[in-house]
Amino acid sequence: MSPNATPTRAAQELTTRVDGGVGQTARRPDATLKVKGEFAFSSDLWAEGMLWGATLRSPYPRARIIDIDVSRAVAMPGVFAVLTHDDVPGAKCFGLEVADQPVLAIDQVRYQGEAVAIIAADDPETARRAADNVVVRYECQDPIVDAVAALADDSDAVHPAGNVVRHQRVRSGDGEQATAPVVVRGEYEIGMQDQAFLGTESGLAVPADDGGVDFYVATQNVHDDRRQVAACLGLGEDMVRMTIVGVGGAFGAREDISMEVHAGLLALRTGRPVKFVYSREESFFGHVHRHPARMAYEHGATPDGKLVYVKARIVLDGGAYASTTAGVVGNAAAFATGPYRVPHVAVDAWGVYTNNPPCGAMRGFGAVQPCFAYESQMDRLAAELGLDPVEIRVRNAVSEGDVLPTTHQLIDSPAPASELLRRVRDLPLPPVTDGPRNPIELPGGAGNTTRGEGVVRGVGYGIGIKNVGYGEGVDDYSTARVRLEVIGGEPTVLVHTAAAEMGQGIVTIQQQTARTELGVEKVTIHPADTSVGSAGSSSASRQTYVTGGAVKAACEQIREALFRRLPDAVRGAGRLRLEGGKLFTPDDEAIADLRDVIGDEPIERTVEWRHRPTEEPDANTGRGNAHVQWGLCAHRAVVDVDVELGLVKVVELAAAEDVGRIMNPQGVEGQIEGGSAQGLGLALLEEIQVTDGRVQNASFTDYLIPTILDMPPMRLDVLEMADPHAPYGLRGVGEPATISSTPAVVAAVRAATGVPLKRVPIRPEHITGQEVRTAGNPRDA
């Protein structure tokens, strides 16, 4: 270490030598850097002459801007630029699906936290103080905050074109005319969940000699970012070069841009590198959240528990700007009925503009909200009919060869819903401890609120379904550049893609794929950037499928080129194999060293790889082959509830998931465990509380994500039922576990208490029935 040195960090090529091919627990190539604190995250960047950026945000959810006076801020020592919407040279608005969000507010703000002005200064404190000295005069307006009311024809409108971002209908069979002998109805509500990644929005923009800008940012999709940033900066895409640098988690929140255009504007204006690092409070305002939902469901069934129909109305609050609301609505409609056979369906799903915080992608993307509702309904139906909750699900579960009742798409790969349910049910239950217990293990935990009195145990189940990969006709592809060469006498592979590593392990998967396909030990991962073709977003559980598929295809082309170098007689011997740096015949005879075949002629291939196309669903019926693959996960939750205080301790979570092919056992477990934790958080802890359009809890003191004391031990049962259409038979694993853990936990709390909980996150007063009103939660269930 050299004290007083200036930090200089950039994107790192990952060269740590780790072993393991497809199917093995290969270690992460970035793990050593990460445990030593040497991994460069986007907040760790530094450049000579760098300035710090800050953002002035609207304190009001809806207001007209009368004027903005930047003169005092500009005059402050150490301040280099203060910019408003007048200074945006290109497109004034950006957005993933619809460019409806101003880079900097124009005459009006539509949510609390909307960016109004940006500042570059010598250090972050000066930048913050300069922001305080920008004087904005607002004329406040009544915010539109009720998504259901905003749907009314006579509602005031957030945008001139009206409040509906998307309305997706699903009609099949008799639709809303369907009747059944047994009917259960329920209304359900989901609060606004935050992705709460630990590494806040941050990055560096460096002005280049050619008039362009080089960006070092944390994103889920560097090419989507570049498209939007170039348009707003008024530059050609070739003038905007982006490299992904250390992403501290994402979970959907980095699909949209945040500080990128702002940093670019300031870098171009000042001619200096500009760095942004959001505080945690600013981060809560700096990215989209999971859509809050209000859902009305009606299930009809036969007396023996076979579903006859599902009717549902789902209203998703999209907040002030569209982000990916349309996609979320599509998923909410397509997965509104869950992994069940249903002859008659009538679903309406809406995404609505309001003056609440903008909502967009979060892990589970539109499949989370309906799952809480339809699983709650299945439990109601089970209770109505006196059936076991698992039994009623099994009686209705889809499997391969069925059609999904919403899209009418044939499920043409394994969908073992019944099997997953039976497996979680049959796992051993955690023991019930007699006698005194450590309060830490009881509801209330370290609060020491009970020694076991008033504590009741409950068990609940949930199962969910979601698509893997982009759907609805979006061209879903990834690009891989792979190079095989001899370096230092050793055959070495370089893999270069734009796939964003956010912690999920795509860098490891790329290494494993190259090792398996090319029989080498040493695989270097090039930083992900825009100098290679798009990999699409690290979202929709798709990256192992799509970028893994692209790397595999590029390796296969390299292998073919390599084999063509061999004498005809050798090639004629049959299917050759590459392993441990050698070529083997089908009889396991080593016939050549890989390095000799490569020699001084490297082989490089760039492949654009796509899965089979999907279709846009019909707007009126929801029909269409909208998806390429589905992921299913089932959970069993065991909880202890202090029924007097309304406190919940999750004792154990068990999960069963079919992953098609286990690419990396530890990686699969990590996805299921981490996803389950976020679902538990939604069930019991996590909500951005919004009152009249204003966020009440933008901090980790007040927005609670599960700690190691909140998470119980987990039991996992991972199935490998290969999808014949997918590379290696794999199935995306990023999201399914997030979806089903929420309803399982809630079902367990209902089982313990008998309270028909209809809203998540559950609050103690929902359990005790003693309503507690505070300023922060006026929308109590």
Binding site: M1, P3, N4, A5, T6, P7, R9, T25, R27, R28, D30, A31, T32, L33, K34, V35, K36, G37, E38, F39, F41, S43, D44, E125, F197, L198, G199, T200, G246, G248, G249, A250, F251, S279, R280, N438, I440, E441, A446, M502, Q504, Q666, G667, E669, G670, E673, G674, S676, A677, S699, F700, T701, I705, P706, T707, I708, L709, M711, P713, M714
Partner: protein, 158 residues
């Protein structure tokens, strides 16, 4: 204001620009030690956990001036240069306790502290000791595994 302190065994001095500057900012931006992370600035997440005179602290809650004349050990100082990885760091890699890695430096320092105080902790003791560190990726199962592995290997260490 000039602050003099010892960081990872090296005597350092740095000038702070404004009152209220935290030890975390001092370490990250003035002493070129960005291993300690800033994720909440409220002492809730533990990502900036360091040793201050041998005691665990959240560096975001310590004013830079409070570190005057004191000794700080950060994640960068857990393993001396060119030495094999500290047993906790190695266990985090092997157990798969690292995903995005943003919480990892704080967890590693906190787990190191736990094993110094309690060489053979129970699961409950691990959970209590690490309850001040948030991880959003792993669901903590692999973190528990890592500490169990490290504890098993660390028996008999100085």
């Amino acid at each position: 204001m000039r602050v003099n302190l010892v960081v990872n065994g090296v005597t350092c001095a740095a000038d702070c620009a404004w009152e209220g500057e935290s030890l975390l900012y001092l370490l990250r931006e003035r002493l070129a030690l960005p291993g300690s992370k800033n994720a909440c600035e409220q002492g809730e997440c533990g990502s900036c956990t360091v040793y201050l005179d041998g005691e665990l602290v959240c560096a975001c809650l310590v004013a830079a001036g409070q570190a005057e004349g004191r000794e700080v050990v950060t994640v960068e100082g857990l393993t001396p240069t060119d030495q094999p990885l500290n047993v906790v760091q190695q266990a985090f890699i092997e157990a798969g306790a690292v995903q995005c890695g943003f919480c990892t430096p704080g967890f590693v320092v906190a787990a190191d502290d736990l094993l110094r105080r309690t060489p053979n902790p129970s699961d409950i003791e691990i959970r209590e000791a690490l309850a001040g560190n948030l991880c959003r990726c792993t669901g903590y199962e692999k973190v528990l595994d890592a500490v169990r592995i490290a504890a098993a290997r660390a028996v008999g260490r100085p």
